[in-house]
């Protein structure tokens, strides 16, 4: 079982926690006395760990950790802070978690990543007696491409913000609020949402590309966004994204993913200042 304690906690700045105690219900008797009936006995916790100001290589570490553990449980040991009492109840091998959510975002303001991941406790403990019963694993195979058609459009129609998440079709079962089993189905896909503010000529390039490749009609190469080491674009000196010159950069060192538009429709706004504002969801597809 992998230990992601350092990877996930190294650069976080905030944790939101929800803890469930014993779960059950109460039965009122005629005498007025209530009898409490409990079922689960292991505390369940949901952690939402937040990050801010990550550069691309920091994000890449998080991304790799998620991709390699998307459908299995892993150890995150919070023993020092006593947030997770399971190490006291059992041993440190009981600090076992599973990914519930993974979302990051980058925008033109600082061209750095912010985001959050959500973990839920697992009862698939790291003990031989448990591990010998069931197998679990995760897989992710990058669907790489060299297609540059979308990149050529993005070089003019540059997004000012990009959001990252995953589409995961693994199935999970639970006992109480904790994950019990997960089955990797090999279908992990990256998903992006791009946000644009464009001049008409650049927007027309984008909408034309969409008309040619919308929905299931086309696949194209999708880049990652962020700053490679030593490469930085200062944010324009204004508080809001109003200028079409503000944009996030493609990470040149990262290979392209084969992807397509996730929606069959494209919504956009034409503003009185003549600029076009729109967003699109893009989903990795396997070759």
């Amino acid at each position: 079982m992998n230990n992601l304690t350092t990877t996930l906690l190294n650069k976080h700045y905030h944790i939101d926690i929800e803890e469930w105690g014993k779960q059950g219900n109460s039965v009122p008797f005629d005498s007025g006395i209530e009898q409490r009936v409990v079922t689960s006995s292991i505390p369940s916790i949901e952690l939402t760990i937040s990050y801010n100001g990550l550069n691309f290589s920091d994000y890449e570490i998080m991304r790799t950790a998620y991709e390699n553990n998307n459908s299995n449980t892993f150890i995150v040991d919070l023993n020092d802070s006593k947030i997770d009492l399971r190490p006291d109840l059992m041993t440190e091998n009981a600090s076992v978690w599973a990914f519930k959510d993974f979302q990051f975002k980058i925008n033109a303001k600082d061209v750095l990543y912010s985001g959050k991941i959500t973990l839920v406790t697992s009862v698939f403990f790291n003990f031989t007696e448990y591990q010998s019963l069931f197998n679990q694993f995760s897989s992710y195979i990058r669907s790489a491409t060299t297609d540059l058609s979308f990149i050529n459009v993005l070089s003019n129609a540059q997004p000012h913000a990009a959001e990252f998440k995953y589409s995961n079709n693994a199935i999970f079962s639970n006992i109480g609020q904790s994950v019990r089993h997960a089955r990797n189905k090999g279908g992990l896909k990256r998903a992006w949402t791009l946000n644009w503010l464009l001049t008409e000529s650049n927007f027309l390039q984008l909408i034309t590309f969409y008309r040619k490749n919308s929905g299931i009609m086309g696949e194209f190469g999708m880049p990652e966004f962020g700053i490679s080491t030593g490469y930085y674009l200062p944010y324009a000196d204004n508080d809001y994204i109003v200028d079409q010159d503000d944009y996030v950069f493609r990470v040149l060192s990262d290979t392209l993913s084969n992807a397509r538009f996730a929606q069959d429709s494209f919504q956009y706004q034409k503003r009185v200042d003549g600029l076009y504002q729109c967003r699109a969801e893009i989903l990795e597809v396997k070759l």
């Binding site: 105690g21 409990v38 292991i42 505390p43």
Partner: protein, 202 residues
């Protein structure tokens, strides 16, 4: 006999868990193993047997005084696929299935010098893995909630569903519902008088 004694009834906190047992036979009719599961969230040790924690749910039990056949559906977590491969490799049907209900008062527990009246967890100190030792709990009641045989089962990717019927079923119908191949019997009388157990003949 469902007798909830004052062992657990007099306490204001009552924990309930269920123990499930399914006898599995090889296709040649020989006994293979008894599968033991619990809907608790850690292993449960009872009568020196380990019950594996799985997400299991079952229908509400209905009792009446008619002699009708009672059956309930059980849904067992099959996400790891272990059960469906077991189900295909051995015979479940017409074999013993039981649901046992256990009510007990969780013992007090001290964690980091704080005492919890009703144990916060159920780990046993000194064991190598988390396990609830029911034998060591004196304030408990154990009774059989349902005893019968597995009639039919089906597996999907996420769950294994089984219908278990009471043994009354056997009074009116000596074999579980199935479609027989007529080639198994040379005459109709053979088919009517023979008692067929799935996968084996007794």
């Amino acid at each position: 006999m469902k007798t909830i004694t004052n062992n657990s009834r007099s306490s204001r906190q009552l924990a309930i868990l269920h123990l499930f047992e399914f006898d599995m036979y090889n296709f040649d009719g020989t006994f293979k193993e008894t599968l033991r599961f619990t809907d608790h969230d850690i292993f449960v040790d009872y009568n020196f047997n380990d019950y594996t924690p799985l997400a299991i749910s079952f229908d509400r039990l209905v009792e009446d005084f008619t002699m009708s056949v009672d059956s309930i559906n059980i849904t067992i977590d099959n996400v790891n696929g272990a059960l469906s491969s077991e189900a295909l490799a051995s015979e479940w049907r017409n074999n013993r299935a039981s649901i046992t209900r256990v009510s007990y008062t969780p013992a007090a527990e001290t964690i980091d010098s704080e005492t919890y009246d009703y144990g916060y967890g159920d780990n046993l100190a000194g064991t190598t893995y988390p396990e609830l030792d029911l034998d060591a709990i004196s304030n408990k009641d154990v009774w059989t909630l349902f005893g019968g045989v597995i009639d039919t089962f089906g597996a999907s990717e996420s769950a294994l569903n089984a219908t278990i019927t009471t043994e009354f079923n056997n009074w009116s119908r000596p074999f579980p519902t199935r479609t027989y191949n007529q080639n198994e019997f040379t005459t109709i009388v053979d088919a009517m008088t023979d008692i067929i157990y799935w996968g084996r003949q007794e």
